[in-house]
C-alpha cells in the first residue's frame, strides 16, 4: 500500500476559530500514544465522503513532543473540491477517522543560527509546531505573520501573548505589509528563512531573498497545492494494463487509486516528488502544476506528477 503508514484515530475536539478556520483534535482510537514528529510535518487525513475517499494533507500544529493528541487547523475553501467543506460540515466529535504517520517536507534546518518565519493566512500552522519545538531548547526565532484582518487572524492572540517579542502581525485590511527587503537586510549570518502561505507570497520571498544574495539552501518554503479540476481525459497505464478515465473533479492519482492501482504518493500536493511517473507516450499537452519537477523536465514530456498535474489531448501512456 502506498503512502505513509496509517493510524486509526478518534476526533476528540472541534473548535471553530473564526469564520473560516476550525481546529480538529485527534487521539489514537486504541488509546495508545501517537508518534512524536518534527515541526513542519503534515498528516494526510482520509475522508470517507460518500462514494469518494478524499486524502488531504494538513500541517500538524500541536507540540511535536505531545504524544497524546494531534491537532490540525482547516481553512474552509468554498471554491475547492470539497475536502475542507467535508471537515467543516460532516466531521463530528467521536467520529473514527484514519490519518497517516507524520511526514515532514518542511523541517527546520537545525544548523541555522536563527529561524525567520514568514506566514500568510492559514500558512501559520506548521510554524505553530516549529515554535513549540524551538522553545524547548531556547531556539532563536522570529515570526512575521500576515493575515487578512483581525477577525481572521487565527492564533494571533496566543502568539502575541506567549511570544510578544518574537511575533509581528500584519493586517491586510489595515494596509500593513511585511517590509521584506529591510527585514532580510542585516539578518545575522546563518539565518534561515521559512515561508508558508499563498503561492504569490512564496514566490515573492524566494525572489527577494535571491536578489539579496541569500543562498538557496537557507530559504525554505511549503505550499500544498490542491488538485484543480479540469477536462476529463483518458490514460493508458502500461504496467497495470488498464485504460482509465480521469474525471473532471478528480486528480490523475485519485483516478488510479479508484481503479485499484497502487500508485506511490506522500504529500498529494505537488511538493514531495514521491508520485513522479514516467511518460511512455503522449499526443497532446501536459498541464503541469507541481513544483517538484524542473522547468526543463516539464518541457520534456517525459515525466508527470499525477497528484496535481493533468493532461489534455489524444493519448497518454504512463509507466505505472
Amino acid at each position: 500500500m502506498s503512502g505513509a503508514e496509517k493510524i486509526a484515530v478518534t476526533v476528540t475536539d472541534i473548535v471553530p476559530l473564526n469564520a473560516l478556520v476550525t481546529r480538529f483534535e485527534f487521539k489514537r482510537a486504541d488509546g495508545g500514544l501517537l508518534p512524536t514528529f518534527s515541526g513542519g510535518a503534515h498528516t494526510v487525513v482520509e475522508m470517507e465522503d460518500g462514494a469518494i475517499t478524499r486524502l488531504n494533507p494538513y500541517s500538524l500544529m500541536s507540540d511535536p513532543m505531545d504524544q497524546t493528541a494531534y491537532t490540525i487547523s482547516v481553512r474552509r475553501d468554498d471554491e475547492g473540491r470539497g475536502g475542507s467543506m467535508f471537515m467543516h460540515q460532516s466531521v463530528k466529535v467521536g467520529d473514527e477517522m484514519t490519518i497517516s504517520y507524520p511526514v515532514n517536507l518542511f523541517s527546520l534546518d537545525l544548523r541555522a543560527k536563527k529561524h525567520l518565519f514568514l506566514a500568510g493566512g492559514i500558512g501559520i500552522t506548521p510554524f505553530l509546531a516549529q515554535i513549540k519545538q524551538l522553545e524547548r531548547f531556547n531556539g532563536n526565532w522570529e515570526l512575521h505573520y500576515a493575515c487578512r484582518s483581525e477577525a481572521l487572524g487565527s492564533y494571533v492572540d496566543e502568539l502575541t501573548s506567549h511570544h510578544p517579542n518574537e511575533t509581528h502581525i500584519y493586517y491586510d485590511d489595515q494596509n500593513q505589509a511585511i517590509d521584506l527587503v529591510n527585514l532580510l537586510d542585516g539578518q545575522p549570518l546563518g539565518t534561515h528563512v521559512y515561508v508558508c502561505g499563498p503561492k504569490g507570497m512564496i514566490e515573492w520571498v524566494r525572489k527577494t531573498a535571491d536578489g539579496e544574495g541569500w543562498p538557496r539552501e537557507a530559504v525554505h518554503y511549503e505550499e500544498f497545492l490542491a488538485p484543480q479540476p479540469g477536462k476529463p481525459f483518458e490514460v493508458k497505464l502500461a504496467v497495470s494494463n488498464k485504460v482509465i478515465q480521469v474525471g473532471e473533479q478528480e486528480s490523475l492519482l485519485e483516478a488510479m487509486e479508484r481503479e485499484g492501482v497502487d500508485a506511490p504518493y506522500l504529500c498529494r500536493g505537488g511538493a514531495c516528488g514521491q508520485c513522479e511517473t514516467r511518460v511512455i507516450d503522449y499526443t497532446g499537452n501536459f498541464i503541469h502544476r507541481d513544483h517538484w519537477l524542473e522547468d526543463d523536465e516539464h518541457a520534456s514530456g517525459e515525466k508527470i506528477m499525477p497528484c496535481v498535474s493533468r493532461f489534455e489531448g489524444k493519448t497518454l501512456v504512463l509507466d505505472r
Binding site: 532580510l184 549570518l189 544574495g213 543562498p215
Partner: protein, 198 residues
C-alpha cells in the same frame, strides 16, 4: 602552471569550480599564493567596493596587484594560523547576503570553508577555485596530528613519524584528507615516495 585538473575520484573528494561574481551585501575573499590570480579574474569594481580580501602570499608577489583592486578592506598575513582570528571576526560580524570566495591551495580552502560553515553558511553556497600547489593538508588517522602541504605519497607524519598513505577520503569537519599507515603489517616495507598525482 597554476591550474590543475584533478583526476576523477571518490565522492568524498572535494570538487572545486571557477569563481563567479554574485550579487551580495558584502564579499569576503580568502586566498593564498596563486589564488590571487583567481581573485584578479573575478574582481569587479562594484564587488571590490564591498569586498574584504584576506591573503596569505606564501612567497608569491601578488600583494600589490590585489591592493590595486582597491577592496574596501585588505589584509595580508604570513600564515592561515596568523589570519585565523581575523577570519573568525569577519564571519562573526557578517550579515546574510555575504558572498564567500575561497581560492588557492586545498588546505586554505578547506580551513576557510570550515570556518564559514561554523558561521552558518551552507557549504554548497561557498564558492571555491583551486589555484597553485596541489599539496594537501593531511590528518594522520593514528595520532590525529595534521601535516600541512604534503606533496608526496607516501609521506612521514610530522607528529608520530609513521609512514602514511595519502587517501582521497576527505573530512570537511577537519578540513583534511586522511593518511593511513602504509607499512603496518610489514614494518619498513615502504614504497618509494612520489608526487601525489604521478
Amino acid at each position: 602552471m597554476t591550474k590543475f585538473t584533478f583526476p576523477e575520484s571518490i565522492r568524498s573528494r572535494p570538487v572545486y569550480g571557477t569563481l563567479e561574481a554574485r550579487k551580495g551585501a558584502a564579499h569576503l575573499l580568502i586566498a593564498d599564493a596563486h589564488g590571487a590570480e583567481a581573485i584578479l579574474d573575478v574582481a569587479t569594481p562594484e564587488m571590490m567596493a564591498k569586498a574584504h580580501i584576506i591573503y596569505i602570499p606564501k612567497g608569491e608577489a601578488f600583494e600589490g596587484k590585489l591592493r590595486a583592486l582597491k577592496p574596501a578592506q585588505f589584509y595580508a598575513g604570513p600564515s592561515y594560523e596568523a589570519a585565523e582570528s581575523r577570519i573568525q571576526k569577519a564571519f562573526e560580524d557578517a550579515k546574510m547576503g555575504l558572498q564567500v570566495y575561497l581560492t588557492g591551495t586545498e588546505g586554505l580552502m578547506g580551513q576557510a570553508q570550515h570556518a564559514a560553515m561554523q558561521a552558518g553558511i551552507p557549504h554548497t553556497a561557498i564558492q571555491t577555485e583551486h589555484r597553485g600547489s596541489v599539496a594537501r593538508r593531511m590528518q594522520c588517522v593514528h595520532c590525529k596530528g595534521i601535516t600541512e602541504d604534503v606533496e608526496t605519497d607516501p609521506f612521514v607524519c610530522a607528529h608520530c613519524g609513521l609512514n602514511l598513505f595519502v587517501r582521497d577520503h576527505y573530512s570537511r569537519r577537519l578540513a583534511a584528507y586522511q593518511g593511513v599507515c602504509i607499512d603496518a603489517e610489514d614494518p619498513g616495507n615502504v614504497p618509494e615516495a612520489k608526487g601525489i598525482y604521478e
